[in-house]
Symmetry: D2
Subunit: 284 residues, 4 copies
Amino acid sequence: MPKTAILLIDCPDRKGLVAAIANFLLTQNANILHADQHQDNELGLFFMRIEFSFEQTEGDEGAFRRDFALLAESLNMHWRLEYAERKPKVALFVSQYLHCIADLLQRHQSGELRCEIPVVISNHPDAAALAGFYNIPFHLIEVNRQNKQQAEAQQIKLIEEHGIDLIVLARYMQILSPEFCRRYPLRVINVHHSFLPAFVGAKPYHAAFARGVKLIGSTSHYVTEVLDDGPIIEQDVTRISHTDELDDLIQKGRDLERLVLSRAVRWHLERRILSYANKTVIFS
Amino acid sequence: MPKTAILLIDCPDRKGLVAAIANFLLTQNANILHADQHQDNELGLFFMRIEFSFEQTEGDEGAFRRDFALLAESLNMHWRLEYAERKPKVALFVSQYLHCIADLLQRHQSGELRCEIPVVISNHPDAAALAGFYNIPFHLIEVNRQNKQQAEAQQIKLIEEHGIDLIVLARYMQILSPEFCRRYPLRVINVHHSFLPAFVGAKPYHAAFARGVKLIGSTSHYVTEVLDDGPIIEQDVTRISHTDELDDLIQKGRDLERLVLSRAVRWHLERRILSYANKTVIFS
Amino acid sequence: MPKTAILLIDCPDRKGLVAAIANFLLTQNANILHADQHQDNELGLFFMRIEFSFEQTEGDEGAFRRDFALLAESLNMHWRLEYAERKPKVALFVSQYLHCIADLLQRHQSGELRCEIPVVISNHPDAAALAGFYNIPFHLIEVNRQNKQQAEAQQIKLIEEHGIDLIVLARYMQILSPEFCRRYPLRVINVHHSFLPAFVGAKPYHAAFARGVKLIGSTSHYVTEVLDDGPIIEQDVTRISHTDELDDLIQKGRDLERLVLSRAVRWHLERRILSYANKTVIFS
Amino acid sequence: MPKTAILLIDCPDRKGLVAAIANFLLTQNANILHADQHQDNELGLFFMRIEFSFEQTEGDEGAFRRDFALLAESLNMHWRLEYAERKPKVALFVSQYLHCIADLLQRHQSGELRCEIPVVISNHPDAAALAGFYNIPFHLIEVNRQNKQQAEAQQIKLIEEHGIDLIVLARYMQILSPEFCRRYPLRVINVHHSFLPAFVGAKPYHAAFARGVKLIGSTSHYVTEVLDDGPIIEQDVTRISHTDELDDLIQKGRDLERLVLSRAVRWHLERRILSYANKTVIFS
């Protein structure tokens, strides 16, 4: 039976790249299902995502990787090969607001998010029942000023035990330590409830209300050490007016948060995101 | 023949306000065509816009104003009465980019903007032909570091001579002096090519490109002494992706600039905007 | 303690309406919290929604209604008075797709939808667990060609027993009989997964895909006897491209369905909707 | 000096296509600047757009075309090779509404639309001054029931004389004959002022107003013999409410018309559109 895999490549741009990659896949008798590429002509960079199917027996993967590694080295490529059949493992972090996690769990159950979710981690007990309903182990790890380091150690222990690929901060209201952020580069997705870079930091809806903006936004991004500054994955906005009070902004904003976070998670799981220069390429 | 007028009111909120205003209009035998009101319950403020028609002979306007002034005083109202037949006078300021002014002039010609435009003022000659095509006197007033004060004096002279009600900065690339801004409060509308408060100041498209945002925006606002900080009238955004280069942002942004500036101008001309607390109420 | 109530009025337009209503509320010592009105000048109709608070003891409601009825009769008004403290009762109808009902139940739990949901009715067992999680009785009423009439009789029995005010078709995939529709005018809200009036009827995503549209939409509307033809409450769209396959349309569409259905339900519960001429007024 | 060219390809999908094309360009020493491809896996079709630069002397183009033709034949490709330096020639058709043509001419002047516009053709004199301002010959060809055939003959004569590549119907309010449509397949772009397929035919804003929709739209499409049924290039919508009267719809719609028509024209000029199965692929 044919297997489906995804190849993600980034490298310095040069003549003959597409030919080299396409020829390699042809020699492997691979069938390209979908391909998308991007060139940053200013920086001289080349990016490609290829989804392909091929007949492969168990032992062949090693050979494929060895052969491609040779090509990649000669062309100075960074690359990842991901088999579609292997589902990424996701940890959901949450605090008291449940709209994002409820949305993600329902999408997961309906088959929209191809991943396993072995663990929900929270600093509040509120999400326990919901996690239970979807049969996902729930871990309460309380966080305060004194115990932050130990709390993160517990979180990391769970992440390592479960072989977590992606951490999703579904309105997790604690700031992660620089050490934690550095440990999982491009593996932690957060949703910030503003149109970044406007209204960085705490209480963005209050700030938007005070400034009198006519649209509010929401942003999903990879987490870096600098607060609300990582590569933006997705943003969306909705219209407000003078008739909207602060509570209306918060309520309308929840819809945006659900949308931009779930899109980011889905794209990450489908290996459609590459990041460079603190930006993202979202392959179609 | 009946005349149409617009009454704009703001005052501290209290019981009986709507009754008092409605009763007054009834005694004047006015016919309400359209009414919209807003209450800021937090600040305890009341805002109303009423469009009404009434039979009135020339001399009656003074009586109407006198009578309403009595009511207004008793209820601590700020108010304006505007007759629809009197078209506001608008001065267009422009520099080298012509897309906004071309758009405004075409809208004006097609009847979409109910105003007179007695003057176009620019620090560059580029818009002269366009102004000429629409039969609007064009004044070239060059501005540099040395002559800023004199240049503004010339501008103010033209504004006063023509009895200008509204100054529209249609991509006018000079920063107005604090004195100029203070002279015309809520009478100068600017378009800033970003989603404020993100990317205040110069080169917002460059900044948006560098940050890797997924939407770019544009903002029209009243000008105050603080750069890009006045009450926001309208904002809009459009989606971009990693495939968009800086020039694409600039090109897509022009469409936003046209839209948000023309909407702000139209709403101002239709007396649909009230401003308070550095925000705007846009009446429907 | 003050009570909050909402008055919804529609009547032929005429001079003095606002004064009459405002004076009445003043005599009742009511405090207007929010008011919005609309005039259809072409049809000569007047619509108003007033939210107000007043001190009222139990017995007073009858007096208020009696007094207002006199005024209303003299001005030929249709009117409703709703007390905010009385929560409407909602029945959710669903079939196999759970994304809308999951969304509505989560919004209800978080306090976004002010209502009681005494019953979930479905022709499939799929939603039973979800209803159970939120502690809402679930009734499986299977529907086929033969038993449609009896099935609707069972549904009606439940609706009457629970004193249901609003029926929400959260992707309920059965067409209701004309008798059912006539029985609950403006009390049944449906979501149709297209931008009506495009793609009426079955399989709208398939039809949209075949036509090659660049945006797909979703529409919530009151149900009438004519399929997908009732007064539209809310619509929204999202962009698609040639890279989206049919499954992508369906997936993107689900997000729209959730949004437009939940907005319609919320607005209905907040008594913000009036319907006339097969259209809706959505008060702010 | 290097030249830039665009290769547009569509053919049955099969293994090795990308390799064959990329290898060919490598042998020609071409430098790929931008590439985008699309596969319709259901229909088994492959589409590609490649923008590339290469050193080429005058005589080489023939050789390039000959060589690529051999490859194309072996792979059953339809293909076009377009040199960026050759600007397409565009004829603008217009009637009385000038907002679209004014917009297109301003965009052309500012360099946004890379084409020549040798002729404006109209059945009304209204656009003559505007065409004159932009130094474009204006031809008044009146059309009525009796002379339609002769009028189209005159239009065709002008089109042929000027070697027109693309005809843009900028709110041209006459229906073209089937013969005319067949003569210029995928070479006539129209803007229809509705969200197709809703509100086909005359007076779509009136129909939208009567139906009570909450969004109005606009659609640009290639013209075919069937009215408003050709491949859709672009669509956009804007929100309306019960407060918008018919004139407001028309006014808001004009902004949509400008946007969707100008985008379609730009994409066509940039050779970013391929059409199949009555749909369009819009390459990025």
